[in-house]
Subunit: 494 residues, 2 copies
């Protein structure tokens, strides 16, 4: 019997569409941002919680921003007991499930923070991933404005903790109740019956930046045809209502107090509108008491926050500096996160009101915003590189590395197979500054050679001939073996 | 038209089967374990990498330990372009995909670390979850024993970094080539043809703890019927081969050198067996040079490591202390992780040899082992609790909290709605030690009251009557408002 020769059936190595590999610099920086946020949440007495990646589809609900496509936005699969499970699309829906499931066992207000991957089954695009990391803090069971104020202050403090300076960010706060009140005064009932119209109005206002006030006016009225010929139905508000809504979006004054006064005039006698004003007033009192001025937290009536589930104060964190892209064009970074009050999300499990308020930011979005602001520093130094000049001395090399690490410096012994030239190329690609070389002769003399590869590369430019280079041996020094660690420290410091 | 009354259709709040919610203490401790491991990897010059949760199913391959059930062990779904994607079941297969995909762009040896959730679509059981966190380090492109030695030393150093003491853990090293060599000498060819038999032998040895040497002897020979009546086919080795294999499993001496000498006699003239001995000798040289003795790293021929893809040195990290469960019965914790050389995993993408070696541990498994060893400390203190005695003073309360945080202590203002009694119950459930109380009168006098709830509860036991309690006001002190932070510090320190 002859054996059939097996054809090689090699799989292709490729990352799935819309997913990313995070390499060292990105990973380290994102980890630092999360750590900074966590330390703010910890200081405020919040506790961490980690829910699993999966939730039952019915428990997760359909709260994705684009509500026209329920279910299509998530990754779902059927478990072997036929139940549908979905990967979480945010960290808020799993929190609602957790609180409802463990309600009696939790001291309330229950205040937790969490960071983790969320998944969106959407068409990937440039900078738009199907897995990305969110970082959230939420209070559940706290109905008062103090919990909202706390959330807003933490948002501002997180921005400071990650290294942003005053003037580089601003938290902008609005209140859903205000618009509800204005619409109520204009004949849109503040009940389920007005829900569709209210959402249309919110979506119209959200396009203010893009369409300008004329475009928004059309969307508040009959509707609007865009350049591609697509027609969007309008909210069908009357002329007075449109005027009131447009007036509302520009009602922000220069200070928080002035804005509240403007708003009190606009909401008229609407109970809900007046409640919204009072909430902003209460938030302002607390912010002012701790000295958080309007350069860090402003009231801004143009803030919408996409999600339909917000019921009270809403806010966004905006990056403020004028930023240019690589071609020098100004880049609009916009909001890197936000949050607000959502009093109905836990209730849907329990059938009784469970007030809640939260803050969420996208870690990658914050990172790329900070990158553009030039506010990122790489704090991790490359390791000291121990070359393998003589394989029989491997034990000696590892001993050196151990000593260097004990002094708190990173160190690695070359564990590949290349000769010294190949090792130096490796070191160069790794961005290594200092390399250590020791052969039999040096070992016998109790010496080691340290090469400064960065300095060496600079000096090489100034030296014309190979001979001159060899005789000068620049950026290289011989030190006593017992002074190795000290010498490395000195060279790194200088 | 009458509107139909909507029936409430409430979803049930429940966590999917086999998944867990990690609460504060568990999350914080696991984060600390990962941080400690990362710092070891960083010091050794490894760099972090974060691959996505999904991989294409064909790229992931079928390397789950239970190879009889390929594909059933993973969570897979079909993407909208009809390609099958799977959630990663470990961090090694995605690393292989990453290296193969970015091969030319990576400086080699490529040494990376990663921690993250992995997913197994298996029947959940007690302590057996379908999502759990692994923490891995791997070198790709390093064929020599130096890379294996480095991996083994890092495993030992991670155990020290998480807080385990000498004698509480031991890294136990074997080499697949030794058994290959012994089997070769016994007539099992060291080629693809002998693969099934070799795997049967590995699985038999892996059951040494459970079945004893008689059971293993049966499995190495014709086969064995267990108590339930199930029959397992044996490896069908001859009597001499069985003797050689059983002799191998007990060949470990008291020191690494002695073990190597024993093994050199056992492998005979098998080239592969002798290569295995030389690798252990090289590893021993490096370990000994850095002073890592056999109390931390031993050579142990009974170590198997389940996965079929290992090709050279393999090792496991064992927890050593005799441990008792809650009922006083001894608990076998066993291996909390391990690793080894796998030279074929990247090659399957590239069709050329790409040597690799790695180490992996289960974070939850390490945590529960350390819990049983009593080696865990909760480093995070509960926050200082600012009660809300008078809602009109909320600004003042938040200002206090801000000052306390500025001094590095956690602090929270009560943001719920309950009265002081309810607030104290909340504080009690939160495990809070110090609570701050201030009303209008105290504000006017420039004073605050600090209550020590822990001390108060202890003293309450000793006091018989309510009147006595009220007049003594134990564990409570009035301090000047401007000395609040200092007083809290003193009380926490005492």
């Amino acid at each position: 019997m002859s054996k059939k020769k097996q054809k090689p059936n090699r799989p292709k190595a490729r990352r799935p569409r819309g997913f990313e590999d995070k390499t060292a610099d990105v990973f380290r920086t994102e980890a630092r941002l999360i750590e900074a946020a966590f330390s703010v949440y910890d200081l405020n007495g919040f506790e961490p919680l980690q829910t699993p990646a999966f939730e039952y589809a019915d428990a997760l609900g359909k709260f994705l921003p684009d509500e026209d496509r329920p279910n299509t936005g998530v990754f779902a699969l059927r478990d072997d007991d036929d139940q549908w499970m979905s990967l979480r699309y945010d960290l808020t829906a799993p929190l609602a499930r957790y609180v409802a499931e463990n309600y009696d066992g939790l001291a309330k207000p229950y205040r937790r923070y969490q960071a983790g991957s969320v998944y969106r089954n959407e068409k990937p695009g440039p900078g738009r991933f199907r897995e990305f990391v969110q970082c959230d803090a939420d209070s559940v069971g706290a109905p008062g404005s103090a919990a909202d104020a706390e959330m807003i202050m933490m948002a501002a403090d997180v921005m400071r903790a990650v290294g942003l300076k005053a003037g580089q960010y601003q938290v902008r706060v609005n209140n859903r109740k205000l618009l509800d009140g204005i619409l109520e005064s204009s004949g849109v009932p503040n009940t389920e019956d007005g829900a569709v119209q209210r959402l249309q109005v919110l979506r119209a206002i959200d396009k203010l930046d893009r369409l300008g006030s004329d475009g928004v006016e059309a969307l508040l009225g009959e509707g609007r045809e865009d350049e591609s010929g697509d027609y969007t139905q309008g909210a069908k508000l009357g002329a007075n209502a449109i005027k009131a809504v447009l007036g509302f979006t520009v009602a922000s004054g220069t200070g928080r107090g002035e804005t509240i006064s403007n708003l009190e005039k606009l909401v008229g006698t609407s109970e809900r509108g007046l409640a919204g004003c009072q909430e902003l007033r209460d938030i302002d009192t607390i912010l002012s008491a701790v000295g958080m001025g309007s350069e860090r937290v402003a009231f801004d009536t143009s803030i919408v926050r996409g999600l339909g589930y917000y019921t009270g104060p809403v806010f966004e964190v905006e990056l403020l500096t004028d930023i240019k892209d690589r071609k020098g064009r100004p880049v609009q970074i916009g909001s890197i996160g936000g949050g607000g009050r959502y009093d109905d999300l836990v209730s849907r499990f329990r059938g009784q009101p469970v007030p809640a308020t939260g803050f969420s930011f996208g870690v990658s979005r914050l990172l790329s915003a900070m990158e553009r602001l030039g506010s990122l520093e790489n704090e991790t130094k490359p390791p000291i590189f121990i070359t393998v000049f003589d394989r029989s001395l491997l034990g000696q090399y590892f001993k050196m590395a151990e000593e260097i690490r004990a002094a708190g410096m990173r160190a690695e012994v070359y564990v590949g197979t290349g000769n010294l030239t190949k090792q130096m190329k490796y070191a160069d690609r790794r961005g290594i500054q200092l390399a250590v070389i020791m052969g039999e002769d040096e070992l016998a003399r109790g010496e080691v050679t340290i090469k400064d590869l960065v300095l060496g590369a600079e000096m090489a430019k100034a030296i014309s001939s190979n001979e001159e280079w060899k005789s000068a041996r620049p950026a290289q020094s011989v030190v006593q073996r017992e002074n190795l660690v000290g010498s490395l420290k000195d060279m790194l410091a200088s």
